[in-house]
């Protein structure tokens, strides 16, 4: 499925490298974009595209933290709680977010499946802590109120998609 649907992008990726194997990481990102995470079927497809064994692809997906090996929330929130951010209150910020979302590290995804909260190591935004990355985009110089506003906005986006406004009859 990936091979046909994303043929053009995959071709462009292959053109960058002398060896097809180098394309495995970029194509895993495409698979994750399509499926939301990397189920075994996706691993098998990527393996076939790159002429690799599925076990090799699975090991890549397991080694790198940005590949999702299980389903996650629609919005994947990564809060840096590493030393430099923690010195500027990132641990407290993280715990406030946990409380606000009603998640913890055992159950890191909200009941409605919209948000997953995880903490991560240094994201290179130490001077703008606390910060978080949501689906690969940075949000910096946060406090809990700013984060709550972002979360409300994202939740509204999901609700709008689920319940599109009905056209008005006049």
């Amino acid at each position: 499925m990936l091979a046909e649907k994303y043929a053009e992008r995959i071709e462009k990726i292959f053109a960058k490298y002398p060896d097809k194997r180098s394309a495995v990481m970029p194509i895993l990102y495409i698979a994750q974009e399509e499926y939301g995470w990397l189920p075994q079927d996706a691993i098998n497809e990527v393996a076939a595209i790159c002429n690799l064994d599925p076990t090799q692809v699975k090991s890549i997906a397991g080694f790198y933290t940005m590949y999702r090996e299980r389903p996650k929330g629609k919005f994947w929130l990564h809060v840096c709680t590493d030393l430099a951010c923690a010195l500027r209150g990132a641990d407290e910020f993280y715990h406030q977010l946990e409380e606000h979302l009603g998640v913890d590290h055992e159950n890191d995804t909200t009941a409605d499946g919209v948000f997953t909260l995880e903490h991560v190591m240094c994201l290179g935004a130490c001077d703008r802590a606390p910060m978080m990355q949501c689906n690969f985009h940075f949000h910096e110089n946060l406090d809990i109120d700013k984060a709550k506003a972002l979360i409300a906005q994202w939740r509204a986006e999901v609700n709008a998609a689920l319940n599109p406004p009905q056209p008005e009859f006049t």
């Binding site: 194997r21 890549i60 940005m66 030393l83 010195l87 913890d104 995880e118 240094c122 290179g124 802590a129």
Partner: protein, 440 residues
């Protein structure tokens, strides 16, 4: 002198990221000049400039380039934009605000070694920056400075961005090359070194340079090695970007000549310590370098490779994390240990196992359940991790333990004193257990 912006030219020209603005301000003139020179002369000029690798090791850049065998048909330049050290955010600012200078510097390096392609390995978390950088490369390609017949020289060299996916270890050059080849990011056995046949990308001779290093190169080619050497100290030429974070009034990147003192950096430039508090300790090179107590001697030490070595630490990538008097250094050791435990690639046993043991015992100490002998135990584990791994991560993980205990023994003692198992519980700061990390 302090206003010389070689790297962060956006401070003088805010829109320097735009291709036309970059061109209007002498952009790609250095590349044009370089391709009018013999590749060997470009290497000599960079050698003469005493430019040293800004990724942390400080290795002379021109010397690195000169290791590349001339007659191999395929050669690569790989730009290390995997910036992942705790407290480091300098390369990101170059990629965001002055991307064409990085592209130009990388193309000059490529000309110097007659490379066939350039790969920029950028950490996956810099997703937006990586995609923006691809568009900047496309502008340079359209301008004739990347790709076929570069600058009308007949030389072909394309440039590609490769996104990582969240692994600190990929900043280590041989692990980076493995990752770029589509494998697990684990360090290689050396020799052969990347510059040698069999040791580089796809087995071809390869130069791996840091973003900041390459961003210096256009200035050196345009203004000459002699001018460059006038900036900085005798053994550390040019400017350096200092990333200042932690307990500081104005955290951020400061580009200053080598030789500025820590005190000048922190108090004159970065605004001093919030609340008028005293500094307790500084990590001058992120999580991986030795921690140093903020003595007057240290604060008055010049920031250069040679001066930092004299006082028993390293300049590294100059990721300066400042901790005020309220910080419990045992907690710092715990934080850094968790980082390395998460980031150890698992290839070498001392690092893979050692980081877990350290973390487990420090957790026990932090929970007030440690014994006085636990401090000796972690010091011993750390010592046995030094110098016995394929890459420096094992040593990096040992550093925070060894140097925190050496310089701040009382911080550890307060958690374990008089303890027969749980006697020190009252002294332990109440902190919640750290949650499981993403992918951990």
């Amino acid at each position: 002198m302090t206003n010389l912006n070689i790297i962060y030219r956006e401070k003088d020209i805010p829109d320097i990221r735009e291709y036309n603005v970059y061109i209007a301000n002498g952009g790609y003139d250095a590349l044009k000049k370089a391709i009018s020179m013999k590749p060997a002369d470009v290497i000599d000029e960079v050698k003469k400039s005493n430019l040293r690798g800004r990724g942390g090791a400080g290795f002379p850049t021109g010397v690195k380039w000169s290791f590349i065998p001339q007659h191999e048909p395929r050669k690569y330049v790989v730009v290390n934009a995997d910036e992942s050290e705790t407290g480091t955010f300098k390369d990101r600012q170059i990629i965001e605000n002055n991307p064409h200078q990085l592209i130009e510097g990388a193309m000059i390096a490529a000309w110097a070694i007659q490379a066939t392609a350039v790969y920029i390995y950028i950490r996956g978390e810099y997703w937006d920056m990586a995609h923006a950088l691809e568009r900047r490369i496309e502008e340079a390609r359209k301008g004739g400075f990347v790709g076929e017949n570069v600058g009308g020289s007949g030389w072909n060299c394309d440039m590609f961005v490769h996104l990582g996916a969240g692994a600190y270890i990929c900043g280590e050059e041989s692990a980076l090359l493995e990752s770029l080849e589509g494998k697990l990011g684990q360090p290689r056995v050396r020799p052969p070194f990347p510059a040698q046949k069999g040791g580089g990308l796809y087995g071809e001779p390869t130069v791996v340079n840091n973003v900041e290093t390459l961003a210096n190169v256009p200035w050196i080619i345009l203004n000459g090695a002699d001018e460059y050497k006038k900036i900085g100290t005798e053994q550390s030429s040019g400017t350096k970007v200092f990333c200042v974070s932690g307990h500081i009034v104005k955290p951020g990147n400061y580009e200053l000549p080598f030789g500025v003192t820590m005190r000048e950096l922190l108090y004159d430039h970065a605004g001093g310590i919030p609340g008028g508090k005293q500094i307790k300790a500084i990590l001058p090179s992120g999580g991986s370098g030795p921690i140093i107590p903020a003595t007057d001697e240290f604060l008055d030490t010049k920031l250069s490779y040679e001066d930092m070595a004299k006082i028993g630490t390293i300049l590294g990538s100059a990721s300066i994390i400042v901790m005020d008097e309220t910080v419990d250094i045992t907690w710092v050791a715990s934080k850094i240990t968790k980082f390395f435990k998460h980031e150890s690639c698992g290839k070498c046993t001392p690092c893979r196992e050692g980081t877990y043991w350290l973390d487990k015992v420090i957790d026990r100490i932090m929970a007030g359940e440690g014994k006085p002998s636990d401090v000796d135990l972690i010091a011993n584990i750390a010592k046995n991790m030094q110098g016995v791994t394929l890459c420096a991560l094992g040593d990096f993980a040992a550093n925070p333990i060894i140097h925190t205990i050496k310089h701040f023994p009382d911080d550890f003692k307060q958690h374990v004193s008089g303890s027969n198992g749980n006697g020190a519980k009252a002294a332990a700061p109440a902190r919640r257990a750290a949650p499981v990390l993403a992918g951990g």
